[in-house]
């Protein structure tokens, strides 16, 4: 029995190895063919639209974090379709492919490599921080231009080829503390954060560091982990007992929905203050929005904004995917347009090599100024971090209202 089993498995392995090998040689052959084809063509017709841009995107499309990866991929698709319909970038259409990284560093490398095999020239991703750091250290060897919509940890933009659309974690934590201090929202603050999450603990640390400068007293700090995020009542009770006037919740809306419900049922009503991960809470399927009444958050994007760009994006997204886009999708949408703007400024064409495209886009990013749906007048510093102002919003009657 065992022998038979091992024969079967060895056979399977041989087949899979062969498949890997052949797919490798296949794609290699096709790229060389394409490259030689282009060489002869570029001279003949520069405006030939045979060549296309190849944009890739990756994020968790299965598993517990799938909601974020799906949003990024969908947001990218909306932008790509829009650009293609309007004639592409510098006259060239964009081809798009996405890959699942399961919110795991190792799978992220696999996803990246599979996109590379496909011929990706620009990466709109990855979605989450840990995979972004892992992929960044690979992509830098290829000098493949990557712009992560939502990888917020500091190290995500360490490689020279990596940029981001969202705020970095320290920037968010510090900006939240500043906002609370400047607007005198509270002096006694309690914090609840996900201690097993890179994003949440990153914001927490920078918030606490800045809080001291703003005269904010952190009266209680509570944590939860990925393995126990159903019941928050005990943490909330301790926060309530600490006499906090404001509860800082630096985590995602999926957990926040539970926290708000449980706080409500125990009658704990401080000012709740969230960060950009909180965006999306109003559009949770069947969510009782009265629970979020008075919730404040710093977010660069709100789906309710009434400018035309946002309205257009939200409408198209809803039409295609049947749900309201969250901030991740908006960041991804902006990311594609940022690449477009940079590519147009550099007058790039897709027949260039990955390395050439990367170098040109990186050069352009230094001077690029971009108005998007997640911020006006975005600029990028030498690290690849974005400089933009977050909007403070407060939820009133089930909708975002500017807090100013």
């Amino acid at each position: 029995m065992k022998r038979l089993l091992s024969v079967v498995l060895t056979g399977a392995m041989a087949v899979s190895l062969a498949a890997c090998g052949s797919s490798g040689s296949g794609s290699a052959a096709s790229t060389t063919a394409a490259a030689s084809g282009e060489k002869t063509e570029t001279a003949a017709a520069a405006a030939s639209s045979d060549a296309t841009w190849k944009f890739g995107s990756q994020g968790p499309l299965t598993g517990g974090a799938a909601v974020y990866g799906t949003a990024v991929v969908n947001g990218t698709k909306v932008a790509v379709d829009e650009i293609n319909a309007a004639g592409g970038i510098n006259g060239y259409q964009i081809e798009f492919q996405s890959a699942d990284d399961e919110h795991d560093q190792e799978k992220a490398i696999n996803a990246y490599n599979s996109l590379k095999d496909w011929g990706m020239q620009v990466l709109i991703g990855p979605t989450t921080s840990a995979p972004t750091i892992a992929v960044g250290s690979e992509a830098v060897n290829d000098n493949l231009f990557m712009i992560t919509p939502s990888g917020s940890a500091v190290d995500c933009t360490k490689p020279a080829n990596a940029f981001r659309v969202c705020f970095s974690d320290p920037a968010q934590g510090a900006k939240s503390a500043q906002y609370i201090g400047e607007h005198k929202l509270a002096t006694k603050v309690a914090i609840l954060y996900d201690s097993s999450d890179v994003y949440s603990s990153g914001i927490y640390e920078s918030f606490v560091a800045e809080a001291a400068n703003q005269g904010i007293e952190v009266v209680d700090t509570e944590q939860f982990t990925a393995d126990s995020k159903t019941d928050f009542s005990t943490q909330l009770q301790k926060m309530q007992a600490s006499g906090a006037e404001l509860a800082f919740l630096p985590f995602y809306y999926t957990e926040a929905a539970l926290v708000l419900k449980q706080a409500d049922s125990m009658g704990f009503k401080p000012v709740f203050f969230g960060v950009d991960g909180m965006d999306g809470i109003l559009d949770l399927d069947n969510f009782d929005t009265s629970l979020a009444e008075g919730l404040m958050l710093l977010t660069p994007f709100s789906a309710d904004a009434d400018d035309d760009a946002t309205k257009n994006f939200v409408a198209k997204y809803k039409e295609a995917y049947g749900s309201t886009p969250i901030q991740f999708a908006a960041d991804a949408y902006d990311a594609v347009y940022i690449v477009k703007a940079a590519a147009e400024a550099a007058n790039l064409t897709p027949d260039k090599s990955v390395d050439e495209i990367g170098t040109a886009l990186e050069e352009q990013m230094k001077s690029l100024k971009y108005d998007g749906i997640t911020g006006a007048e975005m600029t990028w510093d030498d690290n690849g971090d974005v400089d933009k102002e977050p909007k403070a919003v407060v939820i009133k009657d089930g909708a975002y209202v500017s807090a100013e």
Binding site: T62, G63, G64, A66, V67, T70, S195, E222, Q223, F224, T225, D227, S228, K229, T230, D231, S233, T234, Q235, Q237, K238, A241, T254, E255, A257, L258, K261, Q262, S265, M266, G267, L284, D285, N286, F287, D288, S323
Partner: protein, 293 residues
């Protein structure tokens, strides 16, 4: 006063664990397998109830049976297709197919319902109870969950001890061969066990989502594993054991969060589990394993 309210939080969470653990323990007792897909059946129960109640607008009294029927059918089907052919194989084989089924259900749910979380409306209409001048609030969900849990445990124990089908279950769990010789329909009994276990998972799912109202395709995974721990803690195969294990686990988790560290509560809970098992190697109410020479 705060101690009492931490305790109540623990009781509420613990009784949800207990209901899920009952399903684990019953299946283990009869089929001697760890049904890792149990938590995902619970998730399916949650979605079934969500669709019946929120999307189709059926009343609660209809939505609950609908969800239970869906889960029961699912449980029986899974048993027939994925577990039954492996009954005579190595016990680890069936553990692996259970994991396969768990992946299958999660991914199927994601394709059907997308990964966007759904906010579950509570099935419990009861108002929170305020005690001691409003210092202590007990939510309706807590009361209903605890009561349901006790009712189920009493019902199951009576069922097993007083009815013929229950006795057949006992016989099958003791010795399949002897049970067959005595004319017990072993296949039928195992199917019945899966049916009851899955129906309990549906109730567990509804109560879990009523108390903690976010529903995603991975909702069942963590409570499932916690309930598994609870079942082992109480002595796997024992129905009162699953109840006690669930309650202890829930209370412990909340007290650890309250008095030691909310960050390390998982580590603390698991440490207690280890200590209990070292002192009582088969759990609190578990039977002693007889060694065959």
């Amino acid at each position: 006063m705060s101690f009492i309210s931490y305790l109540l939080n623990g009781l509420s969470l613990g009784s949800v664990y207990a209901i899920i653990a009952l399903g684990y323990t019953m299946v283990y007792g009869i089929a001697k397998m760890l049904n890792f897909a149990h938590g995902d059946i619970l998730m399916v129960g949650g979605y079934a109830a969500f669709i019946a109640f929120n999307s189709m607008g059926l009343p609660v009294v209809v939505a609950i049976p609908v969800s239970m029927v869906v889960c029961t059918l699912l449980g029986i089907t899974i048993e027939k297709i994925a577990y039954k052919p492996l009954r005579k194989a190595n016990s680890l084989s069936v553990l692996i197919t259970a994991i396969g089924v768990s992946y299958l259900l999660q991914n199927l749910a994601q394709i059907i319902f997308t990964a966007n979380p759904k906010s579950f409306s509570s099935f419990v209409g009861m108002k929170p109870l305020k005690l001691a001048d409003g210092q202590l609030t007990i939510s309706g969900e807590t009361i209903v969950t605890i009561v349901t849990c006790v009712v189920i445990v009493v019902g199951l124990v009576t069922f097993i001890n007083k009815t013929k089908a229950g006795q057949a279950m006992l016989a099958v769990s003791e010795d399949k061969g002897a049970a067959t010789l005595m004319g017990v329909d072993v296949n039928g009994t195992i199917s019945l066990t899966f049916a009851i276990g899955s129906a309990l998972a549906a109730i567990g799912g509804i109560l879990l989502c009523s108390a903690y109202p976010t529903l995603t395709p991975t909702t069942g995974a963590m409570p499932g594993i916690k309930a598994f721990v609870a079942a082992v803690l109480g002595g796997i195969g024992s129905i009162p054991g699953a109840f006690i294990g669930g309650i202890i686990l829930g209370v412990l988790e909340n007290l650890a969060k309250a008095y030691i560290s909310s960050k390390l509560s998982d580590a603390i809970v698991f440490s207690v589990l280890i200590i209990v098992l070292l002192v009582k190697p088969t759990g609190i109410l578990g039977k002693k394993i007889m060694e065959k020479v």
